[in-house]
């Protein structure tokens, strides 16, 4: 091989190794930071990964929000019309968090079966509904609730 070719080969190898490493790292990191969407029905059927953080979605059940008066603790139920899941959260809820509205909570289940959320998401827009929540409500056989709110 001529020196130029050797150099080119070295560059190509370098690029391949770099891209390979990056891809490997990407796949591993991604595996760790993927959140699976879980609906209350999935929870009732025990159909979700138990050992990791998940993304729970549904509607905030009416008259289920209970606030502590002396701390920032709050409890509420997330429903898809068929099943409810109790969620506990400590902190400040987003502006658009309201009963009857769509909500997404990130967190894990504790040993009592209460969902301990570390992050609550609601959206910018009143009329907006997270697509996963819409689908979960449809699957649960209560699609109308979503379009009526």
């Amino acid at each position: 091989m001529t020196p130029t070719r050797k150099k080119r080969l070295a560059v190509v190898m370098l690029i391949l190794v770099g891209v390979g490493t990056a891809t490997a790292i990407a796949v591993t990191t991604m595996n760790d930071s993927i959140l699976f969407f879980v609906s209350p029905t999935n929870v009732a059927e025990q159909d979700f990964p138990h050992d990791r953080r998940i993304r729970l979605g549904g509607l905030v059940a009416n008259e289920s929000v209970k606030r502590a008066t002396d701390s920032l603790e709050v409890n509420f139920d997330v429903t898809d019309g068929n099943h409810d899941v109790t969620v506990a959260f400590t902190g400040i809820l987003p502006d658009l968090f309201r009963e009857g509205q769509g909500v997404i909570a990130h967190g894990r289940f504790d040993t009592q079966g209460v969902f301990q959320a570390d992050e609550i998401l609601a959206r910018h827009d009143e009329t907006y509904m997270p697509p996963e929540v819409l689908r979960a409500l449809e699957d649960a056989g209560h699609p109308i609730e979503a379009s009526m709110q």
């Binding site: 990056a22 790292i25 502006d95 009143e126």
Partner: protein
């Protein structure tokens, strides 16, 4: 009656765009001067009608014409005048109209400022942009007409989303769109080059300032969006790796690679094919961004109420544009000039590394953004990819970039010696390390992240300025503008890196329950809540928490965050109280009322050096503009005008694919 004029203007613009994309294009193929001569008037007409449509919609907003559905949905009688003007792009239909107007504006600018281009070439550029415009005009007219009527009109409208009723939001979408759409110019230049079968240094030089300007706008737009999210969403974050943010970030990453590869291709003639490919990719990613934002396929804080039909249209349009461009590329790539060789230690290598890292980063962000869609589509699972993935990838990929940036300008084209480059930079490195430790120690920010951030940032700033010394050696006049711009941008990254490292390592956040009379103490600052009182604005009412802030015993200032409720729609919104500073921001956001005694949940942040994030990013944008204003791009392209016939002759012989 007036809204129908808007509708007609849009249709006329569509007709003119169609004519532009066909007749002068045919003329350029056949080298027919008379047909090509139609292009300028078509471009002007296209702009005039796009502007007219835009103005008609604006007038409808000013006059509260609620018979226009879009106005009724996005405005009401109480909306202040300035927001009525910005409400024009507050929703989906209007923002498309803005997009079209900007595309028409860019076309007009190309027409006016690139008179020196060979006629055939310029005609092709404009015609290709005309094709893009056809797509967007059709999209607007068929799926998202802003001039649709409801008769009889309602007495009052809904509301503009209160989150968008903010000065930052007036400028964010237009700047971002200027960037997105601006890449259409680089795209047009690339496709025109491929059509003519000639991709050469001239072509790249002409398109460089346009790419730089578009990139600068995109940078400014993203920066403004980040700043807006910081104070408007009430979470105190400045970047969320939200899919829609990513959608604007991917074109930015590709655009960054593009402006650097254009430099190599123009100066040295190396990687011409890659540059063309990047130009296609940058615009395709802009289209993809639009698709992601508009189709509602993503769960995002930005998603408007959407419908899938629109998504399908953009996806189809994207397939045509990107697919067509890539097909043309595949057919013509063998004819693109061959690149020139270079040594391993050379500026070409430095810029190649830049391109590699930025292209891979764009790929990684794209992967993380699209993976949930793919997974859902394939029926695997409904998932979302969280910020940890993006942060990890980014730190991994951008650390080498930060380390390598100062080497780029310092190295010579084609062939250089590592010792020659390393000597002046070694001093910068030592100074950066010593000073980095010293500053971190002074600030008490003893975390690995803060220290590496300071070292990295200072290394960028000193390394870049040590280039100034080298560059000025033996020069009688100062540096040319394109170098000044580059220096500003690279130093800007340094400022940005410091800001990011400090915010992510040393932010203090406290969510607390506070009653009037109580005090919260954080890091020597004392926040005393005096009272919570109701206040009133033009179209909202609010609870306002009045805080007094002390440092030690010294009283500093008052801060008053609000919880607003907007009259129409009743949407509740947090208005943050901010005390910006050079080295730290104080930030108070109200949560909710906890009981009848006015106890509130309150979020207090102390964010060190957070302004440096946007300051650095603005330096980047400014650097881009200063670079683009360099006379050599404009002057030399004028010199080309003296021999247009030769170009026309060559290009005219080509048979299009």
């Amino acid at each position: 009656m007036i809204p129908e004029l808007g509708q007609i203007s849009l249709i006329l613009a569509l007709i003119l765009a169609t004519l532009l994309a066909t007749i002068p294009m045919y003329g350029a193929w056949k080298n027919n001067e008379r047909l090509m001569a139609l292009a300028p008037s078509l471009v002007i007409g296209h702009f005039v009608f796009a502007l007219m449509a835009y103005l008609v919609l604006t007038v409808a907003f000013i006059n509260h014409d609620f018979t226009v559905t879009y106005v009724a949905m996005n405005s009401n009688l109480l909306l202040p005048f300035a927001y009525r003007l910005s409400a024009v792009w507050g929703g989906h239909e209007g923002s498309l109209l803005l997009w079209i107007l900007m595309l028409a504006g860019w076309m007009l600018a190309v027409l006016m400022f690139s008179r020196a281009l060979p006629t055939v070439y310029r005609t092709r550029v404009l015609a290709v942009m005309g094709i893009v415009s056809i797509g967007f005009l059709l999209f607007t007219l068929l799926t998202s007409n802003p001039f649709d009527r409801i008769l009889p009109g309602p007495p009052d409208g809904q509301d503009m989303n209160p989150l968008l009723q903010d000065p930052g939001m007036i400028f964010h979408p237009p700047l971002l769109y200027m960037g997105y759409v601006g890449f259409a110019v680089a795209f047009g230049f690339a496709i025109a080059g491929l059509l003519g079968g000639k991709v050469e240094r001239d072509w790249v030089r002409w398109s460089r300032p346009w790419t730089l300007i578009a990139w600068a706008f995109l940078t400014a737009g993203i920066t403004l969006g980040s700043w807006w999210a910081y104070y408007e969403l009430g979470w105190g974050g400045w970047w969320f790796w939200d899919p829609v943010e990513n959608a604007s970030f991917i074109p930015w990453l590709i655009g960054t690679a593009l402006i650097h590869s254009q430099a190599v291709t123009e100066k040295r003639g190396a990687f011409p094919a890659w540059t063309v490919l990047l130009a296609i990719a940058a615009f395709s990613m802009s289209l993809l961004g639009t698709f992601l934002v508009r189709s509602g396929v993503l769960t995002s804080v930005h998603a408007f109420a959407n419908d899938p039909e629109r998504g399908l249209f953009i996806l189809g349009f994207m397939t045509v544009i990107t697919g067509g461009a890539l097909l043309l590329y595949a057919l013509r790539a063998p004819r693109i000039m061959a690149g020139e060789g270079f040594d391993f230690v050379s500026r070409e290598t430095a810029l190649m590394l830049n391109n590699m890292f930025f292209a891979v980063s764009a790929g990684m962000v794209l992967l993380g953004t699209l993976y949930p869609l793919v997974s859902d589509f394939m029926g695997w699972a409904q998932v979302s990819v969280g910020p940890p993935y993006f942060s990890a990838m980014f730190i991994l990929l951008m650390t080498p970039v930060v380390m390598l940036i100062p080497f780029g300008p310092m190295s010579r084209w084609r062939k250089d010696e590592i010792t020659r480059i390393a000597k002046p930079l070694a001093i910068s490195a030592v100074v950066a390390i010593v000073l980095g430790f010293a500053i971190a120690a002074y600030l008490g920010a003893w975390s690995a992240r803060a220290i590496t951030g300071w070292i990295g940032g200072l290394w960028l700033i000193f390394g870049t300025f040590s280039y100034v010394r080298t560059a000025l050696k033996g020069r009688r006049r100062g540096l040319p503008r394109h170098q000044i711009g580059m220096i500003m941008a690279h130093a800007g990254i340094g400022v940005f890196v410091i800001g990011v490292a400090m915010v992510s390592s040393s932010t203090l956040q406290r969510d607390v329950r506070v009653e009037p009379g109580q005090t919260v103490e954080i890091e020597g600052y004392r926040f005393e809540l005096l009272e919570v009182v109701p206040v009133k604005g033009q179209n909202w009412i609010a609870d306002e928490a009045r805080f007094k802030v002390f440092r030690g015993d010294r009283e500093l200032f008052d801060m008053a965050p609000q919880k607003r409720r907007y009259h129409r729609g009743g949407q509740v919104m947090t208005q943050v109280a901010l005390r910006p500073g050079f080295t730290r921001d104080l930030y108070i956001a109200m949560g909710e009322r906890l009981n009848d005694d006015n106890a509130w949940s309150i979020r207090i942040h102390i964010k060190p050096f957070v302004r440096w994030i946007w300051g650095g990013a603005l330096l980047l944008a400014l650097g881009g503009l200063v670079s683009a204003s360099d006379r050599r791009y404009w002057r030399e392209s004028r010199a080309q005008a003296r021999k247009p016939a030769q170009h026309a002759g060559q290009a005219g012989d080509e048979v299009p694919a």
